[in-house]
Amino acid sequence: MYAFDFVKPSSIDDAVKALSAEGAQPIAGGQTLIPTLKARLNAPETLVSLTGIAELKGVCRDGDVLVIGAGTSHAAVARDAAAEFPGLAALALQIGDPAVRNRGTLGGSIANNDPAACYPAAVLATGATVVTDRREIAADDFFQGMFTTALEEGEIVTSVRFPIPEVSAYAKFAQPASRFALTGVFVAKFAEGVRVAVTGASEDGVFRWTEAEEALVRSFAPEALADLRVPDGGMINDLHGTPAYRAHLVGVMTRRAVKAAS
């Protein structure tokens, strides 16, 4: 790692102030950022830790919405969202391993927007609202391609407001070494419709599979998807899987998610 200064503010206001300095970057749980720093792929002058800000942590229900603080660890979401939103708690429990889940956070995951991260699928599939220190961003506008989001320099995700679906499930085909999603699909059924979001598969990061959504509105059953396929074009090609393999997995994992949810 290159050398950097480290500061740990205890309020959102102080964190935003610290992040306005030249060369300052935020760090949440650090489960992706620290390995990136070790590889010298990033060289901040100052790291502003968000782990000491109590107002960023916690899970609470607000009507039909589950509000989760951006600094809430995956382990805490798995535990504290289980009763209100079991599909989301189950997703959190599949991220990394127990030690990673104790450090990694919701806000860190979506701000990084790794194309194979789990949380973006849940945020997009529920049509959640990303709340920052300065505005609210709809999930459909937040994710803007691999490692790219609508966040401005120095803008901090403070919470995510998840509309709670009638039923939901996340089906993940985990890459066995990294435990990232080789392909993961979150399906959420609401009174007004169905949303399907796919992570791990596309070079553009998380995306909605609208044809599947339309088919599932007509019939919320795996069979409704039997004739649907996503095109191979734009799917990730790496040593873990070809575009055709990932496109196939999108169908398989979506059917599994629907089965698990229904």
Binding site: D5, F6, G30, L37, A99, N102, R103
Partner: protein, 163 residues
């Protein structure tokens, strides 16, 4: 360099640290607690697992400064007060839950956290919880057996059907 303090194995300690000092390096080089092993140094293998405020974390993937004033437990803090092995450590010895021993500190710290959360885990639950701890010697069977035995469960039939 800054003077960094935290509570490690029940004692308040301090040593010099930079912003980029990892918790694993602070424990090993700063405090001389070399029981915490660094295997992959990429957050994958789990040899460096310690408890921070009671929860297992990968210490090679945590900045030391971020744990200022926290309560940290390392493998050096796991033995009984008289220096004898804890029930869990003794079970690793009794059931040959280690060969080269490099992964063992992390295995013990993760297994201790599991037993704290779930005092009588099933074989499947143990295997799932230890997913982030890699062992290249044992093939895991005896580690699982050791954790089950430490939880007071009968392990005499474990793996018999498979043999």
């Amino acid at each position: 360099m800054t003077r960094l303090s935290m509570k490690v194995n029940g004692r308040t300690v301090s040593a010099e640290a930079e912003g980029r000092t990892l918790l694993s390096a602070f424990l090993r080089q700063g405090l001389g607690l070399t029981g915490t092993h660094v295997g992959c140094d990429t957050g994958q293998c789990g040899a460096c697992v310690v408890h921070v405020d009671g929860k297992p974390v990968k210490s090679c993937n945590v900045l030391a400064m971020d744990t200022a004033d926290a309560e940290v437990t390392t493998i050096e803090g796991m033995a009984n007060a008289d220096g004898s092995l804890s029930v869990l450590q003794q079970a690793f010895q009794d059931h040959h839950g280690l060969q080269c021993g490099f992964c063992t500190p992390g295995m013990v710290m993760s297994a201790a956290a599991l037993l704290e959360e779930n005092p009588t885990p099933s074989e499947a639950e143990i295997r799932h919880y230890l997913e982030g701890n890699i062992c290249r010697c044992t093939g895991y069977h005896n580690i699982v057996k050791a954790v089950m035995a430490a939880s007071g469960q009968d392990v005499s039939q474990l793996g018999v059907a498979a043999e």
